[in-house]
Every structure is written in structure tokens, then in C-alpha cells.
């Protein structure tokens, strides 16, 4: 408690809020008590450090926003996904080695592809991916909705949040948080592929945050994004956990996603253990989904996340495929090996067990985001 009293005094001293007598008394105390004086000096230094930190952060924020604006205007060019440049350098450095390795790999893969293609048929014809393309007219209506949403949200927060960065999105899908501490979000690889220039995530209040695809694996159709925006407010720990086990046949599940500009709840059950043509990466659900649902979390009654909605079968109603959640762990193992992103962690506790559905949804919805891009 001593500490806080002293702090209060130092702060009032620094801000010039002390009366003349108090100031004299305070300075007298400092003179006669070197230990106290030392503490005061330390506090003053610390307050100055916080001030510098705040200013610097605000300035960085302005820089970021200016850059985003100028990228949109085309004054600044940036590549759509960071990390690409690193690849280019790697390529330049290891060109020869890669060329030799690639030619060997090429021969092998050609042979194996020939074998594979004789065994399997193409997926694309019978499956449709669930990314929603945003057209211009719809966009206008959404813009209006969004603006009203924002005004409402702003009033809520008393103008405390800085202006969000906005983009004109070409598509919309869904993603959900897997590491609330370091802001990692999972969605589908085919969603990320839609983003040619910029990728953002948007919460249900309409605030958009710049994100970067740090991991994309077309083989399992998984992508991991990291929210890079400084304005993003860190969320409390995840309410759900990510299951390592296979989903049970007949298990009741629910989903939250963005087939439209607001969050939509859906229910269904696990109708088969494996996916399209017995693909073991996936499981099959019986439910209804729409474009924009790609990347939606599939959760059971205990708050265990079982999968990620990816696609639906075209010529059969209500047949939906979801990537099994165990694949997320594999993806995370790979991300951990990346130098800049080895901080990724996921918790294994669900706080949703025995909670009724409405409360479960209320707790989960802040962790589900629209993934948009242009």
C-alpha cells in the first residue's frame, strides 16, 4: 500500500497537481530521505517510459494506417502474403540445389501422380467449396448495415476504439480463434487462396483487422492466420477445446458461421466417420450450410471442437464435409517450427461442459470471425 501512496504523490508531482505547501513538504521529504528520493526518481523514469511507449505505439498505429491507405490507393505495392519474399530469397540462394532436387522429385511425382490419378477421380465436380463471393449490389446493402452497426458499436464504446481499417471485400468465409493469447485463427486453405491482395478478419461488430496467412496447406485444406492489427483487442482464453479424437457416429454437433453478414447458428449430426470417397482427413455431417460457411467450427455439446466445415456434396442434400480437428494439431506442429510463429499454443480445457446452448453460443461467438479479402 505504501507503494501506491508514493505513486500517487509522484504522479501528482509530475503533473504539477500539488499545492505549494505540499510540494515543499514533498521536496523536503526527498531531501532528507535518500531512499525515498531514489524511489521517486525511479517512478519518474518509469512514468516517462510509459509515456514514450504510448506515443510510440500511437505513432506506429498511424504509420500502419497510412500504409494501408496508400496500398489501397496503389501508391505503395505490397505482396499479398508475407513470407513470399523470403521464398524468393531462398530460391535465389539455393537455385541450383533446388533445381537438381526438383528434377528428381519431378520424375518421382509424375510417376506417382499417374498411379494416383488412375486410382482416384477428381473431386471438384461433385463438391462445392463454401466461400461466398460478394457482389457489388449486395455489398452496398451490407455497407449500410455495417455502418449502422459501427455507429451502434461506437456509441457502446464511447469512441474509444480507433477507426478500423476497411477494405472492399471480394469474398467472405468463416474462421475461428485457436490461440487467443497470440491471436491465431484457423480457416480453410481454399479461403485464403481467394485473397489476392489483402486478407482481413472481421468480428460481429463489423470491425476489421488485418491478418496474415502464415500457414497454408492445400493437402488438408487448412490455413492458419495471425491477426496482425495493433488495434485488435486480445480475447480471454478460448472457451472450447480442440478435440484430438475422431468424432463419434451420430454425435450431435452445432456450428457458428458467416453465410451472411451476421453470425448464423446451425445444428446437425455426424453422419459418417470419413469424408468424400472415404477421405480420412474429413468426416461427414448431416446439416445445411451455405456459401460463406467454409471455415466454420463444428462443436459438440461438451464444447469440444470436432472439425471445420469445408465443402458440401452437390448432388445430395444436406451432405457436408468437415476436416477433423486432429489435423489442426498437425498444422500447429508445423507452425511451431516456423521461427516467427513458434509462440502458438492451444489449450485443452473446455469451459462449456454442462452449460446450456444459448450460453455456449454467447461464449463462443466472439471467437468466430468473418474472413474476407480482395
Amino acid at each position: 500500500m505504501e507503494d501506491t501512496l508514493l505513486m500517487d504523490a509522484v504522479e501528482r508531482f509530475a503533473n504539477g497537481e500539488m499545492s505549494v505547501e505540499e510540494k515543499i513538504y514533498f521536496e523536503d521529504l526527498r531531501k532528507n530521505n535518500p531512499e525515498l528520493d531514489q524511489a521517486v526518481v525511479e517512478y519518474l523514469f518509469f512514468l516517462n517510459e510509459i509515456d514514450n511507449y504510448g506515443k510510440s505505439r500511437q505513432f506506429r498505429h498511424i504509420l500502419q494506417e497510412t500504409e494501408v491507405k496508400l496500398v489501397e490507393e496503389g501508391v505503395i505495392h505490397k505482396s499479398p502474403l508475407n513470407g513470399k519474399s523470403k521464398l524468393v530469397y531462398m530460391w535465389k540462394r539455393y537455385k541450383k540445389t533446388i533445381a537438381v532436387a526438383a528434377s528428381i522429385a519431378g520424375i518421382i511425382s509424375l510417376v506417382s501422380m499417374a498411379i494416383m490419378s488412375s486410382l482416384s477421380t477428381r473431386k471438384d465436380n461433385n463438391l462445392s467449396l463454401l466461400v461466398s463471393k460478394i457482389n457489388k449490389q449486395g455489398q452496398q446493402i451490407r455497407d449500410i448495415n455495417r455502418k449502422t452497426d459501427q455507429i451502434a458499436a461506437k456509441q457502446d464504446q464511447n469512441n474509444s476504439t480507433p477507426e478500423p481499417t476497411r477494405i472492399d471485400a471480394r469474398f467472405r468465409a468463416t474462421g475461428f480463434m485457436i490461440d487467443a493469447n497470440n491471436n491465431y485463427i484457423v480457416t480453410n486453405a481454399h479461403v485464403v487462396k481467394e485473397a489476392l491482395h489483402k486478407l482481413i478478419v472481421e468480428n460481429s461488430k463489423g470491425f476489421q483487422y488485418v491478418a496474415e496467412a502464415i500457414y497454408v496447406d492445400p493437402a488438408t485444406d487448412l490455413a492458419i492466420l495471425k491477426v496482425k492489427d495493433e488495434t485488435f483487442k486480445k480475447l480471454p482464453p478460448l472457451p472450447y477445446n480442440i478435440s484430438k479424437n475422431n468424432p463419434q457416429l451420430g454425435e450431435q454437433v452445432f456450428m457458428l458461421g458467416f453465410p451472411k453478414q451476421e453470425i448464423v447458428y446451425g445444428e446437425g449430426y455426424v453422419s459418417a466417420r470419413n469424408g468424400y470417397e472415404l477421405d480420412t482427413t474429413y468426416c461427414q455431417l448431416s446439416t445445411s450450410v451455405n456459401e460463406g460457411s467454409s471455415g466454420s467450427p463444428v462443436i459438440n455439446k461438451n464444447g469440444e471442437l470436432l472439425g471445420i466445415i469445408t465443402s458440401m456434396e452437390n448432388n445430395a442434400a444436406g451432405v457436408v464435409f468437415a476436416i477433423k480437428s486432429a489435423n489442426i494439431y498437425r498444422a500447429i506442429e508445423n507452425v511451431k517450427k516456423m521461427k516467427d510463429y513458434d509462440d502458438i499454443r492451444i489449450n485443452s480445457q473446455s469451459s462449456l461442459r454442462g452449460v446450456d446452448r444459448i450460453d455456449q453460443i454467447r461464449k463462443i461467438q466472439d471467437y468466430v470471425f468473418m474472413v474476407k479479402g480482395n
Partner: protein
């Protein structure tokens, strides 16, 4: 070309974190920095990063009380960016020589040393802030960074009065201070 008075105005605006000024400096100087980086083994993304960092160096300089700039903003940014980029190239062991000696240069070593120290302090504070958790983080940010009045903070965070909020704020500050100095003393 801008006149000395215009340059002074720009720097004053920069010190006050004026968005319009920041954008103006971006527009005037970005293309130059981008071609510097790209002509020296860098990518467009590298250019964007280096430019931002150079802007931070200029900002730190502009807001220091004993500030004076003896050259054009353009020259300064160019010199800083070139130095930063050479350093980065060395770190990544891509050996490049910044060729392009067409631009005038000034000595910036000293400023960059100060910048490095400030960057370190920034990182230490950032890490400490990340560690104290909620509601401390938001509370301290609201008061010390967004400079909101205590009354408003009490309301937003649901404290019964501003004295309660104040007590809580000091508790948080003590924790932040401990975390900060634990790390800070290590780095010295």
C-alpha cells in the same frame, strides 16, 4: 522541392503525430526508399518495413526537445533507410552493397544508436504490458496511453467511483513496474 519553412512545419506536425503530415511525408519519400531497397536485393515488403522504421527514427528525433535537423527530410530518411537496410542485409547474410550513391547522405549513426535503445525499451514495455493481463492492461492503456480521465475509466470498467479505479490502477502500475524493471535491468 519544399522550402525550409515547409519542412519545419512538416516536422512540427510529425512530432504531434499529425496524420496528414505522416501521409504527406509518405507520399513525398516512399518511392525513393522503395527503389533504394529494391535495387539492393530487397522486396516491396522489405521496403515497406524499412520505411516505417525510418519514419519512427525521424519521429523520435522530431519530438526530442533538443531537436534540430540540419538537412532535408528526404536526405535524412534516405540516410537512415540505407543504414537500416545494410544492417538487415548483414544480419541475414545477404551480402549486398548499397550501390546508388546518387543521393546526398548525412551521418545518422548516433541517431540510430538512440533509436535502438528506444526500440529495446519499447519492446520491454510491450512484453510487460502483454504479461500483466486483463483488466490491468486495458486500464493502464486507457489512462496512460489514451489519456482518458479517471471518471470515464471508472464508468467504462464498472468501478463504483474514480477513487476505486485509481486504487486499482496503482496496483496494476506497481505490477507493470516490477515486470518492466525485471526485464529492463537484464538488458542493460
Amino acid at each position: 522541392m519544399s522550402t525550409p519553412t515547409q519542412e519545419k512545419e512538416l516536422l512540427k506536425g510529425l512530432a504531434k503525430e499529425d496524420r496528414v503530415v505522416v501521409e504527406q511525408i509518405y507520399r513525398d519519400n516512399y518511392p525513393m526508399i522503395q527503389s533504394l531497397i529494391i535495387n539492393n536485393n530487397g522486396s516491396v515488403d522489405d521496403a515497406a518495413d524499412i520505411f516505417q522504421e525510418s519514419m519512427i527514427v525521424l519521429f523520435e528525433k522530431a519530438k526530442s526537445p533538443e531537436f534540430e535537423l540540419n538537412c532535408l527530410i528526404k536526405t535524412y530518411l534516405y540516410s537512415v533507410a540505407r543504414r537500416l537496410w545494410l544492417k538487415k542485409l548483414q544480419q541475414m547474410q545477404r551480402f549486398g552493397r548499397a550501390t546508388d550513391a546518387s543521393m546526398e547522405m548525412v551521418a545518422v549513426e548516433e541517431d540510430l544508436e538512440i533509436h535502438e535503445k528506444k526500440q529495446l525499451e519499447f519492446n520491454v514495455m510491450d512484453a510487460a504490458m502483454a504479461k500483466i493481463g486483463e483488466p490491468c492492461k486495458s486500464l493502464l492503456e486507457a489512462y496512460y496511453i489514451q489519456k482518458k480521465p479517471m471518471q470515464q475509466i471508472a464508468q467504462e470498467f464498472g468501478y463504483t467511483n474514480s477513487d476505486n479505479a485509481k486504487t486499482q490502477k496503482y496496483k496494476c502500475l506497481v505490477r507493470l513496474k516490477k515486470l518492466f524493471f525485471a526485464q529492463y535491468k537484464n538488458t542493460e
